[in-house]
Each structure stands twice: as C-alpha cells, then as structure tokens.
Symmetry: C2
Subunit: 296 residues, 2 copies
C-alpha cells in the first residue's frame, strides 16, 4: 500500500491544534470537557484533515489557514461518530479499538459532547485567525460547512442510512446515502481548503469536488468490503457488523467482485478529475490510491 | 398579568420564517424533516424571538434583520429541548402538552433532528439576507451564537444540570448552572439584536446583557416555583417533575418564600439595568414583568 506522505506530521499538527482549542475553553463542566476530548483526540486517522492539508498544499494555501478548516471539519466528524455510536443509533461499543464515548462516559454526556463539538466546529470557523485574504471568505467557509454537516448533508445521510436498515434499497439510493453521509464532509474538506487558496478557479473547485465525491464513494465501497474481509483486531471493532445490522452494502447489492470493480472505477474517475487540474496533485492521487487499497 | 404587546404578531412572523426555511431545504429524508418541523414548530412561546424583536424595536434595528437572529436562536433552543427530553437526559414524555420528539418519532430521529436544527441555526446566520450594514457584522453574530450555544454556554449548563441531579449544590452553583443553561441564549437574543442596530454603544450592550442575565435567572426561579405550584394541565407536562428528578431548585435551597423574594429582586435589577438606556424600553420592562408573574 502507498504510504501517505506527511500523514504523521499532519496528525501531530491537527492534534496539537485541537488539544490547544479544547484547553482554551473556559473551565466549566470537567466531565463534559473530558468526553469532548475523548471523542476528538482518542485515535482517528485524520483523513479529512489530511485531504484539506494536501489540497491546500497543491493549491498554495497557507498551512495556518488550513488548520482552521481541518479542525472545524474534524469536530463535525468527531461529533457525528459519538452520536452515531449511541444505543439509539448504531449501538456500537467499540470505536478505534476503544470504548465508544457513551461507554467510556454515559449516554447523556456523549449526547452533550457531540452537541458541543458541533458548536465548536462553528466556533473555529468564527474565531480561527485566518490570514487577511481568507478572513474575507469566512462566511463562504461557514456556508460550505453548514451544507456539508446538516440536513442537506451528513445528518440527512445518517437519517437515510437508518431508514435503509432492515430494508432493501437500490444502488442509486445507496450512493445518494453515502454521498451525503460520508461524501459531503470529504467534499467540504477539499472545497474549503481550495477556498483558502488565491489560485483556485471555479472550474478547479468543481473538479476537486468531483475528485472528493469519487473518493468518498470509493472509501465507502472499500469500507463495506473491509467489513466482511477483515478481522476484529484489524478493524478495532467487530467485523461483519454491517451484515449483523442488516444494512445495505455494495457487496450485498452487487457482490464482492462487483464491489471491487466499483471501487476501481471510482478510483479511476477520481484520478481523471485530478488530471484536469494545473497543479501538482500527486499527494491527492496517492490519497485516492490509499483509499482503495487500505486494509482497515 | 401583563399582556405582552405584539406577541401574537411575533409568533406568527417567526413561525412563518421558520416554516419557509424548512420548506426550502432540499428534499431528502422526509421523516427527519418532519421531526425537525415537529421540534421547531409545534407550540413554543417564542420568548427568545420576542426578546430579540423587542430589543431590535427599542434600538431601531430593521425587523427583517431580527428575523435571522430570532430564527437562529430559536433553532438552537428547539434542538436543546429535543435532546434534553431524551431518555438518557431528562426522560420527558410530554412537552407543551404534546408527545416529545422521541415519543412522536423515535430516539435516533430525535437525536438527528436536534443535530440538524443546530446546524440550521448556523445556516441561518450564514445565509439570512441581512441588510447591508448588518451583513458586515455576520461574523460577530456567529461569535455570539457559538458562545451562547456550546460548551461555554448552554451545553455546559446542561452538563452542570445533569451533574447536579441527585447531588446537592450551592446557590452560587445553581445560579452559574442557570446562567449557562438558560441565560446564555436569552443574553444572545438581546445582544445579537443590539448588534443589528447602528445605535447601540458598548455600554448599551453591557446594560442589555445585564438585563438579560437578570430576567434569565428570574425566569428560572419562576420556573422552579411554577413546577411545584401549578397543575399538569397548566404546565402541559407533569408538575413536581424537578422534585421527582431530585434536582436542585431555588425553592429547595431557599424555600418558596425565599424564591419569590429572589425573583422580585432579580426583576428590580433587570428594570434598573434598563433604566440606564436612552431608548423606549417599555416592552422590555413589560417582558420582565411577564417573566416574574407568569403562571405557566
């Protein structure tokens, strides 16, 4: 598998930023703060921040501007995982090999930690010290983030996912579900990072959005494949959980081989979108390779 | 009891705005949208919007600018009620005489409806058509709202409230809890409305914030009194629920008579804060009267 360039440095950088952000919150309810820290800082591959930093690098954005984008998006992602793991939702006990937030704390605290992390994402957009040129675009960043996070994006996708449990859906419905549930935030990572660059044209942004859309779907197809082909030790959570939850998956709809071909097609489409861009997008194409080859 | 001027018109106006905002969301998961609509539009006294409109009127702000402020704050309020009612939190079956959101739908949908309504609040701040002068202050409005809603505000207060259940706390701790849980959003309603006025000085804003702080605490003291002196029919939910939940209340800490005196003192302090302002604040002082005299 391709080793992702700069991944360790980016993980360290974003963890440092998020740790400092939490440390700067006024002293208040320590248990809630601990649960927010747990949900935000225990593990996490930081794929969305990685995508934001690599897009920013390709387009010549200031890394300190991408900090704000990456941190806000990761707060939305972390909150969604805390809420998705709740007993009333996916009812998962493990996440990244650790007890889920409501298991490590309690359900009420997990709900509030998720709620507070969502607010924190918008806090970061509101208060991050963006460079002068980017500060003028703060409202654009806010608009991208609300579209990706809310009913029109991730939350809507999670609702469609819940509705699809125990009920067969079509391939088109499955794609729409994942485009919202997972794709919207990945797309936001890329578009918001592009917004931090003075170079990106509207066409560049559209192509980057296409790239993000394809790798978002590829990520999910790969996730479905991994769920049935990996061990619990590799996943950090029980394997076969999609089947156990009676969820629609790509392998269930088009077979394991069909799913592998689907991932390959999406991968090629992602590279095609990148190829039209007048920048060095090697790290972004490597990221696409990583997505479709990852084992866990 | 004082009849609040313009209350009916304001309720109609904000309901119309929120109905239109929900109707304009892209078609997606209908059940989630129905739950959002249920949480946002079924009943609700619209006290926070009222406070925003009356502040805006006193300070000569455009009513169409206050629409955005009032609607965003009401989305945060509605989301917090949906989540607070959940079985893992206050476990309430009734709200405003109707089944709570998780009873009318299900827990997973209620969690997502709350999450989506929080995002919608920031969507409104991002996209409301503020008049030219106010659009420049959009980031200020965003900053006020994140401070009021998140860990530093309402969510932190709810966490302190949960921690205080089944455990005695001091009067100072109870005040801090309510200042965050209820006060922060009332204060935001006033300050954000003032931000929409070209007239308001920093001193005006500070006095208005003091006013909001006092009526916020008075509101809660009155709530605690009502909880033990009203019937279920008057409340639209079971009376005595604070005692049943073993929650710290003003009557429990300082007695019913002490609580009544406390509410009166807070009321006088609120009027005192208003008296320093060079505007016609009759409707705001009437609102304070309404708060301390209301029966449900």
């Amino acid at each position: 598998m391709t080793k992702l360039a700069h991944l360790d440095a980016i993980q360290t950088r974003i963890d440092h930023y998020l740790t400092a952000k939490l440390a700067n919150l006024a002293s208040n309810d320590e248990k809630l703060l601990a649960a927010m820290r747990y949900g935000l800082l225990i593990g996490g591959k930081r794929m969305r921040p990685y995508l934001a930093y690599m897009t920013g690098e390709a387009l010549g954005a200031e890394q300190s501007d991408i900090d704000g984008v990456a941190a806000a998006i990761e707060c939305i992602h972390a909150y969604s995982l805390i809420h998705d793991d709740l007993p009333a939702m996916d009812d998962d006990d493990l996440r990244r090999g650790q007890p889920t937030c409501h298991k490590a704390f309690d359900e009420a605290t997990a709900i509030l930690a998720g709620d507070s992390l969502q607010t924190l994402a918008f806090d970061i957009i509101a208060n991050h010290e963006f460079s002068t040129a980017v500060a003028d675009k703060r409202i654009n960043l806010l608009r991208y983030l609300v579209n990706a996070a809310g009913y029109q994006g991730m939350c809507g996708g999670q609702a469609l996912d819940l509705a699809a449990t125990n009920q067969p859906i079509s391939l088109a419905e499955l794609e729409n579900l994942h485009a919202l549930k997972t794709g919207a935030l990945l797309e936001a990572a890329v578009i918001m990072a592009a917004e931090c660059s003075s170079k990106a044209s509207e066409n560049d942004k559209q192509q980057l959005a296409q790239y993000a859309k394809y790798i978002g779907l590829a990520y999910q197809v790969r996730d479905d494949i991994i769920d049935i082909t990996s061990t619990e030790a590799e996943l950090g959570k029980p394997s076969g959980s999609d089947i156990a939850a009676n969820k629609s998956t790509y392998p269930a709809l088009i077979g394991l081989q069909g799913a592998r071909e689907k991932a390959e097609n999406l991968y090629q489409q992602a590279l095609q979108a990148l190829s039209t861009l007048p920048y060095n997008t090697q790290n972004l194409s490597d990221f696409a390779t990583f997505i479709v080859c990852r084992k866990h």
